[in-house]
């Protein structure tokens, strides 16, 4: 069946179906219970699944992830909510030294299927620490999967795939998109096509077909890239828009396939460009498509400054104009 859902609600429904189909699935975090989370993504879940499965935790992110690891070792599948991007760092040690390495450390004897949901990204006029994009700080660490959906449908499919995954998944939710609506095909769980379900964690999605330039984006910047593609179309330039979906692993094949056709590539994300995921995309694409490239892979990202005050965030964030500017530079090369 299919229905129109907001991005946030698609995640709620994905979590609900996971909770329904596997009693080992837990949801835990600050204020996820009675309040339903500050973004209401877990709204109603505690009422329906009880306080033991939808758990209001103490205010301690390391404790949330650390106990989630222990629960996973006991056979549970915890889905942790971090309230905002800027507050994941107290849990960084548990994620980087424990969650990412447990399976490896045990030579495959132990699995820690923990999902960490992180509302991220800017543009919502918030105060410090509430608009950041720390995905690259996790993608560099082997053992973690780092993904970010851009559409309600992917939000629904990817959260289910993340919960079903035996590996830890950092699930970055573009909070600025929470209230956008879209058609969502919901399916019985576990997904009829299990492979398909895991696929959304490994493969990029071509959001738009074009031949002159490849725009690579994920999460919040996919919509911006599509707007830019519209603008380009009106100027007679056709852009291929690739929605990565997964930041680690990167679907290099999909991006390279596109760039071989277009010869030009612009990567867009909100995180600072310096050592952002775009650097890896640029390096890999150049390795794979060296002879097809008409211009260097260009990056449109946040600047090398902490996320600025809300009054200036629209200057800081990648905009349609800045994407067009980069495309012009790529075409002029």
């Amino acid at each position: 069946m299919s229905e129109t859902l907001t991005f946030a609600r698609a995640i709620t429904d994905g979590l609900r179906s996971a909770l329904e189909s596997d009693e080992k699935v837990l949801v835990m975090g600050e204020d996820v219970g009675r309040l339903g989370g500050v973004f209401r993504v877990t709204d109603g879940l505690q009422k329906d699944f009880g306080e033991d499965r939808v758990v209001d935790t103490p205010l301690a992110e390391s404790g949330i992830v650390g106990t989630a690891i222990g629960l996973a070792l006991r056979g549970y599948r915890p889905v942790c909510e971090i309230q905002f991007d800027g507050f994941v760092f107290p849990a960084y040690d548990q994620i980087t030294t424990q969650l990412a390495k447990m399976h490896y450390r045990s030579r495959g004897r132990l699995q820690v299927p923990v999902v960490i949901r992180i509302p991220y990204g800017g543009g919502i006029g918030a105060v410090e620490h509430h608009s950041e994009s720390p995905e690259a700080l996790f993608a560099h660490t082997p053992g973690l999967r780092v993904v970010s959906p851009a559409t309600p449908q992917d939000a629904y499919d990817m959260i289910r795939a993340a919960v079903a995954s035996p590996d830890p998944v950092l699930f970055f939710e573009p909070k600025g998109r929470y209230w956008t609506k879209g058609e969502v095909a919901t399916s019985p769980y576990p997904s009829a096509d299990a492979a398909g379900s895991a696929d959304v964690l490994n493969t990029a999605r071509v959001a738009r077909r074009g031949d002159d330039v490849t725009l690579v984006a994920y999460g919040p910047t996919v919509a911006t890239a599509l707007k830019a593609a519209d603008a380009l179309a009106s100027e007679g330039t056709s852009a291929d828009v690739v929605d990565l979906r997964s930041i680690s692993p990167l679907d290099v094949t999909a991006v390279a396939e596109s760039v071989r056709r277009t010869g030009r590539c612009v990567v867009v994300h909100e995180a600072p460009s310096f050592l952002g995921s775009g650097a890896e995309v640029a390096a890999r694409v150049t390795e794979e498509c060296f002879h097809s490239l008409e211009a260097p892979v260009l990056r449109v990202g946040g600047f090398h400054a902490p996320y600025p005050v809300a009054k200036l965030e629209h200057e800081y964030l990648p905009s349609v104009d800045r994407i067009l500017d980069a495309v012009d530079r790529a075409l002029a090369f």
Binding site: L59, G125, K311
Partner: protein
């Protein structure tokens, strides 16, 4: 007693801790053998002092109301109300010496008021126009910190610096300094707060840990953070700890004065749990009806810390209608100023986002700034437009 409050706010049944209380909810002085030492600490406060405290609380409440209104009108991105916590904040701040240093969290508007942080500057952060807003050097009040608990370690380190400066235990009241840090009941769960207690204890640092237990961490009652009263947390680290009625401005003054005296003298840290209540929403984005009962809010409305001081002043014939009317006029003036000046705060120039990333700016920032300026000129965008 507050800990018999209805709703989700009970701390564990085990909790039969008497609070330090000097004034009852109805405004009578509480005279008990075991609050004698604390009573002696407020003896010197004149009716004029009590009136001044009352005035600080009223102006703090008005600041709160005006800021809340400004947020509703879209003039602030967010605001965290302090309503209900005026006694804890004003009382503790009154005990500070000028050279003492404060590390607040983000709700200590009453402390900032007493320390003289400009009211407009206090709202720059919440307007989304500045990440800080004032110069800590002027008020000895550090900037608000939004990452729960992390500033409590800064306070402890700062206090270790005070020790190294020899500004502890000199006996010179104008010289001996201490640090007071404010944090909430929820914050006590953060590892950083526990580590701060470890560092302060083993270094005997002059740090006063002032925990405002307002019984809620957004939607979670204190019982989700601890099953025993929070003041006992300090004892586990070997730090003298006390629980005070956070809605009693004199009691809050007295316990803080005691803690500061200890810190100044080189006696080390103290942990204070001020048992109070967050009468408002967590922030302007919060909806408390989703998680707590009207009855509970009603219970606490009847224990309003400001009413308590008013009752005390009346009971002690220190109330004066003309003076009270003047406070209202001062509050109106404050509101007037906030409404005009906060609205007048524009967006900083766009290029300021590249400033102070480093004290010694390096090529990466310089190049990106240069690119941005060229881009802006070319696309003719102006920073003010962008602020839309």
């Amino acid at each position: 007693m507050p800990h018999q409050a209805p709703g989700g706010t009970d701390v564990a049944p085990a909790d039969v801790t008497p609070l330090v209380q000097l004034v009852s909810p109805t405004g009578e002085r509480v005279v008990e053998p075991d609050n004698a030492t604390y009573r002696s600490r407020v003896d010197h406060l004149t009716p004029g002092d009590l009136r001044a405290m009352y005035r600080d609380m009223v102006l703090t409440r008005r600041f709160d109301d005006e800021a809340t209104a400004l947020q509703r009108q879209g003039e602030l991105a967010l605001y965290a109300q302090g309503r209900g916590q005026e006694a804890a904040q004003v009382g503790s701040a009154w005990a500070l010496a000028p050279q003492d240093y404060v590390f607040p969290s983000y709700r200590e508007h009453g402390v900032l008021h007493v320390r003289g942080v400009d009211p407009v500057d206090r709202l720059r952060l919440y307007r989304g126009e500045d990440h800080g807003g004032w110069d800590p050097a002027e008020s000895n009040v550090h900037l608000y910190t939004l990452v729960i608990g992390s500033h409590v370690l800064h306070a402890t380190g700062y206090a270790m610096g005070v020790q190294r400066d020899g500004a502890v235990g000199t006996g010179d009241a104008s010289r001996d300094a201490a640090v007071v840090t404010y944090f909430g009941d929820g914050a006590t769960s953060q590892g950083d707060v526990s580590e701060a207690l470890v560092f302060a204890a083993v270094n005997n640092a002059p740090t006063v840990f002032f925990c405002q237990n307002n019984q809620w961490a957004i939607s979670e009652p204190t019982t989700r953070q601890s099953r025993v009263p929070l003041y006992r947390r300090g004892e586990g680290f070997g730090i003298p700890s006390v629980r005070v009625d956070g809605n009693d401005v004199l009691a809050c003054y007295a316990v803080t004065a005691e803690a500061l005296e200890r810190a100044h003298a080189g006696g080390g840290p103290t942990f204070i749990e001020a048992y109070t209540y967050r009468m408002g929403a967590h922030t302007t984005s919060d909806d408390p009806t989703r998680y707590r009962e009207r009855a509970e809010e009603e219970y606490w409305r009847q224990r309003d810390p400001i009413e308590r001081v008013a009752a005390l002043l009346r009971a002690e014939d220190a109330w004066d209608d003309a003076w009270a009317a003047q406070i209202d006029r001062d509050a109106d003036a404050l509101g007037e100023r906030l409404r005009t000046e906060v609205r007048a705060l524009g967006a900083p120039p766009a290029t300021t986002m590249f400033e102070h990333v480093y004290a010694t700016e390096h090529a990466q920032v310089t190049a990106e700034r240069a690119w941005f300026e060229a881009y802006e000129n070319e696309t003719g965008q102006s920073s003010t437009e962008a602020a839309r």
